[in-house]
Amino acid sequence: MRIALITEGTYPYVAGGVSTWCQQLLTGLDRHAFQLVAITAYAGGQRAAYELPPNVAAVRTVPVWDRARPATGWVARGRHRRSGTAAAVPLCRGLLDDGPKAAGLFAGGLRQLAQQAAGGAHPLHDVPLAEVLVDAWQASRVAGGDVRLPLPRLSLRDARDAAVLLEHAVRPLAHRLPPVDACHPVAAGLPLLVALAAKWRTGTPYLLTEHGSYLRERYLEYGDSLPVAVKAVMLRFYRALARLGYAEAAVVSSVSDFNRRWELRHGAEPARVRVVPNGVAPDAYPALAGEPADPTVVWVGRIDPLKDLHTLVRAFDTVRREVPGARLRLAGPVPATGADYARSCHALVDSLGLREVVEFAGPVASSREAYATGSLVALSSISEGMPYTVIEAMMCGRATVSTDVGGVAETVGDAGVVVPPGDPAAFAAGCVRLLRDPAERARLGEAARARALARYTLPHMLAAYDDLYGEVAATAPVRLPVVDRLPAADPTIALAPT
C-alpha cells in the first residue's frame, strides 16, 4: 500500500516521543511505501534526526510560517480572494458556535477552502479574514452562543492577530499529495488538514493516530500565552477541526484509554476508536543487570515545560536530604523552543544548591545506557500520551516513579510507582521509598519487564497498524482505473473495495 504519513513538528526533524514511534512504524512496515509529509514552522535549514528507511519514497515539508503562496495572476488572485472570503464566512461562524449546525458550517467552509487550495495557493491568503471574524463574532454574540462561557470581547487587534494565526494554520490544506491509498495523520491538528483535503479531493481515506490529545495539549499550551479572545478563536478552531477529523476518519487509533476519553468526548464514534499501545523491541532493551554505585534517579527526555522538571528538581531536594549520596541525572536534548525552560531549570538547581548532585547530561546516544546509570527512572510530566521513557525503562527491568498523566497509569499498572503530577512531596516520597528498598526496586523492575513483554512490544504494535491500514484502505470508494494516472504495477487504488 502507499501511505502518506503526516506529522506536525516532530518526525523526521525532532527526535524522541512521536518521532521514535514514526521511525518504528516506517522501519517495521517495510512492505508499505510511505510518503512522509512533515508540517513545520519554516522550510529549509532542518536536518533529519533519523536515517530514513528505504520505503520512504519522499519527504515533503509543509512550512506553515514561511511566505504566503498567493494565487498566480491578477485575475486569479481576485477570484481567490472572493471565493476565500465566501468560504471563510461559514468557517468562522461554524468554529465559534457549538452543535451540529455549527459543525456543518465549519466543515462546509473548510471543504470549500480545500477545493480552492487544490491549485496550491494558500487558501486564506489575502482574504479579509479579520473582518469576517469580527462579523462572525458579533453574529454569534447576538445569537446568544454559550450562556455560561460567552465569547469574550474581540477587539479589532485581537481579530487581526487571530486572523494571522488562522491564515497560517489552514495552509496545509494547500498541500497536494501524490496518489496514495491512505493518509495517516499523526495528530488531530494540522496534519488533519492534509488528510481532509486528500479525502475531499480524491476520496483517500485516513487513519488518525493520536499520541497525546492534540486538543488537550492546545488547551494547556494556550493558557496565558495569548489574549483571551485570540485564544478563544484558536481553541475553537482546533476543537472544530478535531471534531471534524474524528467524524471523517475511517479509524481513529489512540495509544491509551486516557486519550480515547477525549476523543469520545469530542464526537468520535466508539466503534471506530482503537487503542494501540506503543511498543519497543525487546531485543533492543534487554534487562539491565546491575545498578550504579550511588543511588541515582535518572530522567530521560526532551527538556520542555510539559515535562515539569521543576517538580522533579524540587522533589530531589527532599530526596537528597532523605537518601545520603543520592544523585539526579537529567539526560536529553534542549529543543529550540525549550531554551528558556532549560535556563529556568538550571536556575532552580542553583537556587536549591543542588549543582553538585544534579547533572544535565545532554542528549544520549542510547536511552538504555541512560537507564543503566540510574537506580530508578523518573517521569514528572504534566501531560503525556504513552511515554516511551516508561515503556523502555520497564522493558529494561528498571523500577519507575512517574506522574499520573495521560496513559501513564494504565501503562505502568501495578509494576511501578505512580504519583499525582505537580506534587514534589509525593514524587520525593516515591523515590525515597524505592531508593531505600533495593528488594522492592528489584521486584518492581521484574514486574515491569514482564508487563512490558506481555503488552508493549514492537511486533504487537506493528501488526496492529498493519491491520488498521488494511481496514482503512477497505473504506476507500471504488475508483475506475485511469491508465495515465495509475501505475499498472500498483492496482490497489483501482481494486480497493468499498
Binding site: E131, V134, R148, P152, R153, L156, P227, V228, V405
Partner: protein, 483 residues
Amino acid sequence: MTAPPIGRRAGGELDLLAARMAADCLRVVDVDELVAAIEATGVNDRVAQQQYGFPSVFALGEAVLSHLDGDRGHQLARLAAGGAATGRPDPYIRQALLRSALYLTPVLLAAAVAGPLGRVDWPAPAAALVVGWSGAQALAYLAHLVGAHRGPGAGTRVLAVGFLGLAGAWSAVLAMAPAALVGPDRGLAYVVSLAELAYFAAVAAALVTRAEAAVLAWTMPSWLVSVLAVGGWWPAGWRVPVEVALLATLALILGRAYRHVARRATGTGHRVRAADAARALAYLVIGLGQALAFVVVWRAEPGGSGPPPAALPLLAAVPMMELFVGWHTARVAAGLDAYDDRGAYRRHLRRGAAATIAALCVPLALGLALGASAYRLPLGLSAQPGVRGAVLAVAAGVLLAGVFTVVLLLATRRWLATAALVAVAPVGLTVGALAGRGGAPTDPAPGLAEGWLLPTLVLVLSTVYALGLVIAAAALLDPRSYR
C-alpha cells in the same frame, strides 16, 4: 454527562478545588480547557469519582465551572479579564524624540568640524549624503526583513555588507572624481564622506535592532567633544585634535550599533523575493528623492558664511515629522484596541485622516504665505540684497519638510510606489524647469537664485505638496491601507 448531587460527600472538596482553579477560570474559554487544567493537577477519572463523587473529570469540570459561576465576584473578574484591552499604548513620543536626536547629531558634529569641512568642496559630502541616505533606506528595509526571520545578527550583517559595499564603491568614485568636485584635499574628502556613510550605517543599525536609545547613549561622547569644540573650550594644546577625537567617538557609535554583527543567525534561511527587492527599490528611490531635494534646497540659496536659511525649518521639522507620523500611527493602533465594531473603527479612521490632512495643510499654507510675502516685505526689505532669497529659502525648507512628512505617511500606509513618486517629484520637476530655461541646477549665482531658481523651487514644492496631500488623503481614507 450528568453530575451526581454534590454536598453530601464532596461539597467541601469541590469548594477547595474551585478555589484552587478560580484563577485559571478567569481566562478559560471552553469548559474542556478547565478540564485540561484540572487534569494537569493530578485529578483523573478515578480521583474525580473517589474524591469528588463525579463520574469523570469532564463532569467535574462542568461542576467547578457552575460552582464558580454562582460567585458574582468571580463572574465580574472574568468579564474584566475577557474585556481588557490587549494592546499597550505605543510609546511613540519617546521613540520619535530618540530618532530625532539620532538624525540631528550629525549637524552638531558638522558644526564642530566646520573648519576642516570648509576645505572640502560641497559636491563630495553632498553626494555622500545622497548615497548614504538612499542606501540606508533600502538596506534598513532588507536588514529588517532578514532580521525578523534570522535574528539581529543576520540583520546587522546585511547592513554591514551593504554599507561596506557602498563605502568601497564610493571610494572608487572619489578616486576618479576631478579635483573641482572634491576640493584641494582629496584625503580629507575621503574621511568626511566615509564618516558620513559610517554614521548612516550606525543609525540604520540602531533602527533595525530597535536600539535607538542605546546607540544614542553612545553618541554622548561625540556630543561632548562637539560642544567643547563649538564653544571654543577644546584645549588648543591638546595632542588629540577635535577631528581625531570625533572619529574615535564615531567608532564607538559604530561599535555599539553593530554589536550583534557576529551573533549566530537563528531560525531558517530567508530568501529575498522579487516583491522584497521591489520594496527595497522603492525605499531606495524615496531616500534618493529626499536626499536630492534636501541638497537642492540647501544649495539653492547661496547665503553667506552661516547656516543656509532653509536648514532652520528643516532641522525643526525633524522631530515634528517623527512626532506627527508617530501620533498618526499610534492613533490608528489605539483604535484597534478600542473598537470591536468595524463601522465605529472606520469612523475613527476617517476622523484621524481628517485631522492628519488638516494638520498637514498648515506647513503648506505657511510655505505659500512665506513665498508670497518674499515679494511684499515691509520697509522695502524685498529689494535688499539676499533678503528675498532668504525668505524664499525658508519657504522652500518649510514646504520640503511638509513633502517629507507626506512621503513618510504614504510609506507608513504602505503606498510605497506612490511615496517614491512623490519623493522624486520635487527634484525631477525642478531639474526639468531648469533644463527648460537652460540654467544650471546647482551652485547658482545670487541673481539666479533670487530671480527664478528659488521661486521655481517654491512653486514646484508647493505643487508637489498639494498633490501629495490629495494622494495622502486617498491613502488615509482607504481601509485597505490599514490592513
